[in-house]
Every structure is written in C-alpha cells, then in structure tokens.
C-alpha cells in the first residue's frame, strides 16, 4: 500500500515508522553506550546511532536523524531490529532494508548513511568492549 504525499510515494511501513519514530532519542548516560554518526552534505542528511551494549548484547538501540521519511524509517527499522541482538548478529543489508520499506532504489544513498552510522556505533561498541 503506497500513499502519495507531495511528489514522493511512501509505503505504509515508511509512514508508520516516520510518524511513530519508535526508539528515536539520544544516548543514555553511562559507559555502556556507544555512538556512531554519519552525514551526507548534499542533502544535509544526518544520522546518529546509539547502542547500549552489555556483554556482547545490544540491550537498546536508539537514533537521532535529520533526513527524509525513508531515512527516518530506515533508522527506526534498524533500531527496532538490533535491539536485543548480539553483536555478531547485528548486520544490515541496505538493499534488504529498502525492500522491507518498499522504498525506491533512489533512496539507497540515504539508507547507506543510516547504515554507516549504525556500523560506526557497532564499531565503537566493540572497541569499548
């Protein structure tokens, strides 16, 4: 189900995640939190991923984002999926994220910004460990 808003069609999944923004927020306090950040200057897209990791397990994933609805939805989707996973299980396939969001391939660049932020956070979490 795709709804047309302005010039961009968005799937129901994108709209849900964009409107609800589950798990959006800053990092909590404490040494368990690791952060990664990525941006793409042309579109001014910015993503910051926060992971609370204890004993190789992601207890909580959060994000901050300034970007289009697909960027917001991608960050929310990954945060939902990574929460509760172990570090080795935390993986992202950007094209699969696009497919899950029923988003246009033209949005791949935005999803890559999201992926980059989460990967950097993951790397920071491994370093902390």
């Amino acid at each position: 189900m795709v709804r047309l808003i302005g010039r961009e069609p968005y799937s129901a999944q994108v709209l849900r995640l964009f409107e609800m923004t589950p798990r959006a927020g800053r990092a909590g306090t404490g040494p368990d939190w690791a952060t990664g950040e990525s941006h793409e200057p042309l579109s001014a897209t910015q993503v910051r991923a926060h992971l609370r990791v204890v004993s190789d397990q992601i207890l909580e994933a959060r994000y901050e984002v300034r970007g289009c609805p697909v960027t917001v939805a991608a960050a929310a989707l990954i945060a939902e999926r990574w929460s509760g996973r172990t570090l080795p299980d935390a993986r992202i396939a950007p094209r699969a994220v696009l497919a899950d969001l029923e988003a246009s391939v033209s949005k791949l660049g935005r999803v890559l910004v999201v992926e980059s932020a989460f990967q950097k956070a993951l790397q920071a979490a491994r370093t902390n460990a």
Binding site: I5, G6, A24, S43, R66, G67, C68, T71, V72
Partner: protein
C-alpha cells in the same frame, strides 16, 4: 480534508463563476464567429467578458486576445515578437526567476538563434531595474519580467522597467498571472506593452486567459498559431464561450471586491507569518514589503524539506511552484535568492484566497509548528 493554502497554484472557482458558466453552457450554443442569432448572442457574451476583463486591468477591450491561459499568452508574446524580428533585433532580455512558461520559451528561442540575456535577481528576489537597463542593447527587441513572482510573491518594479524600455524603443512584456486580482492593475498607465493574464488564479476556470496587447506591440506581434481569423488573427480557433464567460465573471467579481480581497489576503498572510515567526530559524523568502498580499514563502531551518512536506498531509501547500513540484527539484527561484538546496527544499509557499479563514490559518500554523518541532526533536546539534 485539507486546508487549502495553494491559491497561487490555482484557486477554487468562485460559485458565481460556476453558476454563470453553467447557465451559458446550458442555454447558449452559438459559435461567436457565426453571423446568425445564436452566434450573435454568443459574440455578445464574449464581448461582455472582454469588457469585464478590460475594466479590471484598465485596458481597452480591443487590446485583449483570449488564450488558453497565461502560458499560451507568454508563448504568444515571446514567439510572436521574436520570430518576426529582423536579424538586427533578435535579442531578448528576461530574468532567471521567471515562470517556466517564459524560461522554457526563451530556451527554445535560443535554439532558434535568438540571443537571450538572463538577469539575476538580488538576494531578496527583486530583479534590479538597473540590471535590466544594462542588459538592453541596440539589438534588444523585447524585455520580459514577471509582475509578481509566483513563488515568493515579490512585486517587481515593472513600471520602471517599462519606462526604460519605452525610452529605448524596446517592447516590454510582463507575465501578470499572479498580479491579476491581487494588485490594482492599470495597464493604460504603466507603459507595459504586453501582459499575460490567467483566469484560474482569481476564481475563474483553468484553461482560459488572455494576452493584453498594447498599441506599440500590436504591429510587431505575429501569430504563432494558424487556422482562422479569430482574435485579430493572433489566436485562431473557435472561442471557448463558457471559459471566456467564466473569465469575464471572475474579472467582474475581482474588480468589484479588489480592495476587500487584498485586505483579506494581507491579513491572512500576516497572521500566518506572525504565528510561525514564534518558531526559531524561520526565514522569509523574499521581503516582507513589496510583495503580493496572497503569497508567503518561508524557509524552515533545521529540518529536512521532504520530511517537512511529508509531515503536513493535512495542508495543501507547495514547496515552490506547483509547476516545478512535478520535477521534484529544489526551486530555482529560491536558489537564485542564495538558498542552498536543503534550505530551498525546506521552504513552504503558503498562498491564501478568498475562502481562507482565520481559523484555517490558526489551524495551519499549529500543524506546521507541531511538524517542525517534532522533526527538530529528532536531531540534536
């Protein structure tokens, strides 16, 4: 149900116009060019509409050429002047912030060998009169600058430009689509030689407009369509009676309540600007003064433009021009004001109309405020 704040794209047709058009469609079936009685009745209605439009713009009825809208009028003005120009007069001056109807026509003229100079606007969206004057040379046949910018609402100093053109023996054309019904227009006093007009920006139907042809331009203007002698030979084809009657009725209504309409538009856009100015990092695209009363264009800092527009499904608004929205590009008009692409994309053109209420504005302001606050809350600098 959307709050409609996109009147610069098109206005709802005034109920009085609908009634008049329906009446004509139901009861009059003559071709205005026919000499029999039904034809003469139709001709009478056409001429009444022409008189009504002429009264609104303070022009003479005989100077009005009905077209399918302002785009066609722009095309007739530019191609009609430039294609017939002698080799030593094949130079056109226009600005970079014109409507696509002018810019695309100018590009086509360039492909046909016409030299075109594009004058830049300043950071407030004004086309400097001095820059237009400097661009005019011995080969310049015509200058075309829009009266009111359709994205920012900035009023250009077309009177001064027209005066300069007149002194230099150059024809001055203005796309007045956003000015008609929104500003007092007295074409007979302006020195403007050609003006493009549209019905659907002032409560009339889409698909009809006019080119006003002043006395200096008339001998130079050549038709670009062929197939009949209607409209002094400049615009052949059977006249769309009900459309023209709709334009005439919209003109009559606009003339009757222009001062009241302008005051209403001004009050509505000022209220909206006041409400939204309470948000930090909101900038007006274009000046607060010398703008058409019905358009307010604001840039919202710290938010993604696409996300902002997607957050406002309850509002019928526009990012730039409705004509540009289909291409999905940031507005070239806002970029010419010095806005970068993200800032241009995070801009909203609000345009109000006769039906816009204070309640609409309060509600719209609240919707925009909530959306901007939510989007900004997703990111911390």
């Amino acid at each position: 149900m959307s709050i409609y704040l996109d009147h610069a794209a098109t206005t709802p047709i005034d109920a009085r116009v609908v009634a008049r058009m329906a009446d004509v469609m139901a009861s009059v079936h003559g071709n205005p060019s026919s000499t029999h009685n039904p034809g003469r009745i139709a001709r009478g209605l056409v001429e009444t509409a022409r008189d009504d439009l002429a009264a609104l713009i303070a022009g003479q009825s005989g100077q009005i050429v009905f077209t399918s809208g302002a785009t066609e009028a722009d095309n007739l003005a530019l191609f009609g002047l430039m294609r017939g120009a002698p080799a030593e007069q094949r130079h056109l001056v226009t600005s970079r912030i014109e409507h696509r109807a002018i810019l695309d026509a100018a590009r086509q003229l360039e492909a046909e060998g016409v030299r075109v100079t594009y004058v830049d606007a300043d950071r407030e969206g004004r086309v400097p009169v001095s820059a237009v004057e400097a661009a005019i040379g011995p080969q310049t046949r015509a200058v075309s600058v829009m009266w009111v910018n359709n994205e920012t609402g900035v009023i250009q100093d077309v009177m001064a430009m027209a005066a300069i053109c007149r002194a230099r023996g150059v024809i001055f054309h203005s796309d007045a689509a956003q000015a008609l019904g929104h500003l007092p227009i007295r074409l007979c006093d302006t020195g403007i030689d050609l003006a493009s007009l549209s019905a659907h920006k002032m409560g009339g139907p889409a698909g009809v407009g006019a080119l006003w042809v002043g006395a200096r331009a008339a001998p130079l203007l050549k038709p670009i369509l062929f197939g009949g002698g209607q409209e002094h030979g400049w615009r052949p084809g059977t006249l769309p009676l009900h459309q023209i009657v709709g334009l005439g009725e919209a003109s009559r209504i606009a003339a009757e309540q222009l001062a009241q309409d302008i005051a209403h538009y001004q009050a509505m856009t000022e209220l909206l600007a006041a409400r939204l100015s309470t948000l930090p990092s909101v900038q007006r695209n274009g000046p607060a003064e010398l703008r058409a009363p019905h358009i307010l264009n604001l840039a919202f800092g710290g938010v993604d433009g696409e996300a902002l527009h997607a957050s406002l499904p309850g509002l019928a608004i526009s990012g730039g021009s409705a004509c540009g929205a289909e291409r999905g590009e940031p507005s070239y008009v806002l970029r010419s004001l010095g806005r970068d692409d993200p800032a241009a994309e995070a801009s909203i053109r609000f345009s109000v109309g006769r039906q816009t209420t204070e309640n609409d504005i309060e509600l719209a302001a609240k919707i925009v405020e909530n959306a901007v606050k939510k989007l900004r809350s997703l990111w911390s600098d």
